[in-house]
């Protein structure tokens, strides 16, 4: 068992040679490509994070813009609606006024016509009544009065009557 604790110089030298060869080969074919790839990946991730941040910022901006546009549009819509309402109210009012006017006019015309008709009727009635009265009085007092004189007299009275 004392062999277990002895150091074999050949194996020691072989170990050092082997390790140095391994170190060289690992460095050349394993470690460097891995480190380069890791560096590239790190950079890639960094870049994607940056571009994602930029994209988010851009999106935020666009969203803000859209929001602003939407706000403006809704404001515009509100004003348009307001205006429309006002206009429609104005139109309704105008129409109402016009209708009122028309009604008024028609009423006035009617009243005028009525009064005219009344007057004509009155005139007619006066003539009729005068005729009837003349006829009646003629009949009653045919013999007593001269025709022309009487007409004048009666007309005078009727005139006075109608004036009063």
């Amino acid at each position: 068992m004392e062999k277990l604790l002895s150091v074999d110089p050949g194996l020691l030298i072989w170990t050092m040679i082997n390790f140095l060869i391994f170190l060289f080969l690992l460095l050349k074919f394993g470690f460097k490509p891995m480190m380069n790839a890791l560096k590239a990946r790190e950079d890639g991730i960094q870049n994607s994070i940056k571009s994602a941040e930029a994209a988010t910022e851009n999106a935020q901006k666009l969203l803000q813009e859209a929001q602003n546009k939407l706000n403006e549009a809704s404001k515009e819509v509100l004003t348009i609606i307001q205006k429309g309402r006002e206009q429609s109210n104005a139109i309704i009012n105008e129409a109402k006024e016009e209708a009122e006017k028309l009604r008024q006019e028609k009423m006035e015309n009617a009243v005028k016509e009525i009064t005219l008709a009344q007057e004509a009727a009155f005139k007619q009635i006066k003539y009729e009544i005068a005729g009837l009265v003349v006829d009646a009085t003629e009949k009653i007092i045919n013999e007593k009065l001269e025709k022309e004189k009487d007409y004048e007299l009666i007309n005078k009275y009727i005139e006075n009557l109608s004036k009063n």
Partner: protein
């Protein structure tokens, strides 16, 4: 500073415990073996040796690899003794005749002396290569995926590697090494260290596998590199004169005679602690599992089987955890040591 020294002492205590428990286990085992050999029949002695042999086979390094006697690989032998000797296998070395094997040790036939340097491709070197191939395969396939689909989220193996690599970089290296530039330069080293140790640890848990980190030479090799990384980065980062000044510990010159040896010693104790910690942790688990299984052969009863299997399964799961923890600990402690020696204002503490 006080916190760190506390941590250090705790670690040292931990190592000491691990070592002592390790030694105890081996001692009790050998005592048991002696008992059985003295008082019991020869059959029992053989059975006792079976476990001991398997343990040796599993923990020690060999010049060949044997997978449960299903297949056997002869590994090349490379020796240096005044000149370079290359043999495709142990057998061909024996046949050639310059060297021979006595008690599992290669010696020169004429002088009976071991060669100056045995640089053979042993089983543990093979397992190191397997670990390296496995890791490179994993890293290269995931690197291909990175190239093919650089922007998609990682999946599967690629994701697992990425999580671990990023964990090492962001939680181990960067918090401990204050200089960002130095941390970036050293992070591949720490990644390689963590994965190399982790996969070698895990290989020991596969049936037929050996954990190379359960051998002192392997952990020592890693620690020597860690030593150079720690002090090299200190010299590189704060300058050689500043690094020399650190050796005085920032104390008044009167006690330099005490401080300088202590600081120089601590320069070597750090990697030494790393060496022993990893080795002891990886070896202890294997020894415990084999000891628990050995109980069946020692006590000669089937009644112990559920206990042995249950406990060894528990230890095995624990080992799985330890494999990760020790890879992590070796890595983070190296990072802490680098951070300590390269701290900007370490003299002011």
């Amino acid at each position: 500073m006080s916190n760190l020294s506390e941590v250090k002492t705790q670690q040292n205590v931990g190592i000491a415990q691990a070592q002592s428990s390790n030694l105890q286990i081996t001692q009790t085992k050998s005592v048991n073996l002696k008992d059985t050999t003295q008082s019991h029949s020869e059959a029992k002695q053989e059975e006792g040796n079976v476990i001991s042999d398997i343990l040796q086979e599993h923990l020690l390094d060999h010049h060949s690899y044997n997978f449960f006697n299903v297949f056997h690989i002869d590994l090349p032998v490379i020796l240096y003794d005044k000149q370079l000797y290359l043999y495709p296998s142990m057998k061909s070395m024996m046949a050639e005749g310059t060297f021979t094997e006595i008690h599992h040790q290669i010696v020169r036939k004429d002088t009976q002396q071991p060669p100056k340097l045995d640089m053979s491709i042993t089983a543990l070197v093979m397992f190191q290569w397997l670990s390296i191939l496995l890791l490179l395969f994993a890293f290269i396939t995931s690197a291909k995926k990175y190239k093919k689909q650089p922007k998609t989220a990682p999946k599967g193996l690629q994701n697992m590697l990425e999580v671990l690599v990023l964990y090492i970089r962001d939680e181990i290296v960067r918090p401990n090494i204050s200089s960002k530039r130095l941390a970036d330069v050293l992070s591949p080293y720490f990644v390689a260290l963590f994965f190399f140790i982790l996969v070698m640890n895990l290989f020991g848990l596969i049936p037929g596998g050996h954990s190379a980190t359960g051998n002192l030479a392997v952990t020592a090799g890693l620690s020597i590199i860690a030593y150079f990384v720690i002090n090299g980065s200190a010299i590189f980062h704060v300058g050689f004169s500043h690094w020399l000044k650190e050796l005085t510990g920032g104390a008044p010159w009167g006690i330099w005679i005490i401080m300088i040896p202590i600081e120089i010693l601590s320069m070597f104790t750090k990697p030494f602690a790393l060496t022993i910690r990893l080795f002891a942790n990886m070896t202890a688990g294997h020894v415990i599992i084999f000891s628990l299984l050995g109980l069946i052969f020692m006590l000669h009863t089937f009644a112990i089987v559920p206990i042995s299997i249950g406990f060894s399964l528990f230890i095995y799961t624990l080992e799985l955890l330890v494999a990760f923890i020790q890879a992590y600990v070796f890595t983070i402690l190296t990072a802490v040591f680098v951070g300590l020696t390269t701290a900007e204002h370490s003299l002011e503490h």
